[in-house]
């Protein structure tokens, strides 16, 4: 049973080990900063997100409006802070939803030999669809709301997680402590949760970070195309979509939200790379 405790012992050190790597530390610091800005948006935003001011419409960046104003005179910086809330919340919800489906599918395929072939083929088929395209089709069928965007992207990214969980479960299934647990008559669901799932948390964490990054990019893409979250709700994607119409007169309207996406996704990738190197060194050389 000693083998079970190995990854558990490592966990308290992950954060400090991550902070010990300069690139990961920078990524983590950026993420914390963006998350804080999103959470504290009502406190730090200089204006109300929907406050119209026709007199100051399309004003360039200035001390009064750090990132300028949009076509309706709304403060771009304020709207970006509120957009961060939606974009990050959608990204995080996608990770949670994709994890739930992915873990269940991956555990089923990896642990039960009879289910492996059908579930694996289903995962292969799901992964044959390009992410944005499948998400567009699902949102078109379900309706363009924030919840449906989360469901669609969750379904799109779940197979990636399922594949990782399946691969790890296949190895763990054969380990002596799982056999011992079986011999002791411990019910399968408990073995799955306590002995298997616990030991696949590292790859899930690593994959989850990359899914978070991809979900932010995909949500922005869907919103930009007008097939995602309603344009009335500020997200970085919808802000770029509106800014596009005023590209020649007010480039800042689409420059700043785009830069926010790049910085957030880059930070997530830096953290994801660091986590992968620390938690799953076998994968570190692959990408």
């Amino acid at each position: 049973m000693a083998a079970i405790s190995v990854p558990v012992h490592q966990e308290p050190n992950i954060l400090s080990r991550l902070l010990g790597r300069p690139t990961s530390a920078i990524g983590l610091a950026i993420l914390v900063l963006i998350a804080l800005a999103a959470i504290l948006a009502p406190v730090i935003a200089p204006y109300a997100p929907a406050k119209l001011s026709i007199a100051s419409r399309l004003d360039p960046p200035s001390m009064a409006h750090l990132f300028g104003t949009d076509d309706l005179g709304r403060d771009v910086f304020t709207r970006m802070l509120y957009a961060a809330r939606t974009s990050l919340a959608v990204g995080l919800a996608v990770v949670v939803f994709a994890s739930i489906i992915g873990i269940v599918l991956g555990l089923m395929a990896g642990f039960f030999r009879k289910l492996d072939a059908p579930v694996s083929r289903l995962i292969d088929a799901m992964m044959a669809f390009p992410d944005i395209l499948l998400a567009i089709a699902l949102v078109a069928a379900l309706g363009a709301t924030a919840v449906n965007v989360i469901i669609a992207l969750g379904i799109v990214y779940a197979p990636r997680l399922a594949r990782v969980v399946r691969a790890s479960t296949l190895v763990i299934r054969e380990l002596p402590y799982v056999e011992a647990a079986r011999a002791l008559g411990i019910p399968t669901p408990i073995i799955l949760v306590r002995h298997v799932l616990r030991n696949v948390t590292s790859p899930i964490l690593v994959q989850g970070t990359f899914i978070f990054a991809n979900a932010i990019l995909a949500e922005a893409g869907l919103s930009f195309l007008g097939v995602g979250i309603s344009p009335s709700i500020p997200t970085w994607g919808t802000m770029i979509a509106v800014g596009r119409q005023y590209m020649d007169q007010a480039g800042w309207m689409m420059m700043f939200p785009g830069a926010a996406i790049v910085i957030t996704v880059l930070a997530l990738q830096l953290v994801g790379d660091g986590l992968r190197d620390l938690l799953d060194p076998r994968l570190a050389k692959d990408i």
Binding site: A125, I132, L133, A141, L225, M247, I261, V262, D286, I287
Partner: protein
Amino acid sequence: MLRSILNRLLGMIVVMALVVTIVFVIVRVTPGDPAAVMLGPDATAADIASLRTRLGLDAPMPVQFGRYILGVVQGDFGQSIFLNQPVTTALAQRAEPTFFLTVFSLLIATVIALPVGILSAYWRGSLFDQAATTLAMFAASVPSFWLGLLFIRFFAVRLGWFDTSGYGGPGASFAERLNHLVLPALALGLVSSALITRFTRASMLDVLNDDYVRTARSKGMSERRVVMKHAFKNALIPILTVIGLTAALLISGAVVTETVFGLPGVGSLVVSAVLRRDYPVIQGALLVIAGLYVLVNFAIDMLYLAVDPRVRY
């Protein structure tokens, strides 16, 4: 060998069958009546009933599924509701810009990624390697549609070097069409080069320390020959895999990029179909693109079989 090919072929057929099923199910998960959703709130009950009959939605579900499979097998993906033409015709008419956009993007991505990836691995840990890895990570973080917009703003609007949107008129020459493709291909290619660069670097790192590379060096072979003839040749298979898969993924990127640049390709057809709820077109495009992805995967597996006798499926 033959057994492996048959196994893989069988696997591909099963995956394709599942892909067709998923595409069929997607429209059926629409809350309410798909015909009513497609026609919008102003449609009369008679219009809805007529469309239901036209789409075969009034038949029992197993019959609908059977008809759908039969159609797909015969290359009939149904009729577009708004374009009033078969989906296959609509897709074929829009295939050219998407094909060229994908090919040029892949070309740009490969031309950038291969040398950068190889040199990055060769000079591991150097300033070049660090800069290349950082840039690749940065490129992977940029939304291609946003990069496209920046390109339009700078190269098309400010410098006037390229056209801002479209694909030239109906009688446009190839040179004119090319002019319209440069910016979208550059935007998509730069973003896609990130993945290929990282894989090339990783594959090269794997082989550069292998015994046969050391042997080649000890024989006094020039570094250029060691890297290109011995190392790169052996690192090529995983690199080809990722290039193949990037080609399939580029079609997805094309959906958004085509919309930004107003290219009349399959991507913009899908987006307009979504906005008009033209489900048969969405289904047809999904099927064709997922089918291509499955075929590319199969071709890669066959390539593995052909070059590496140890591989078995």
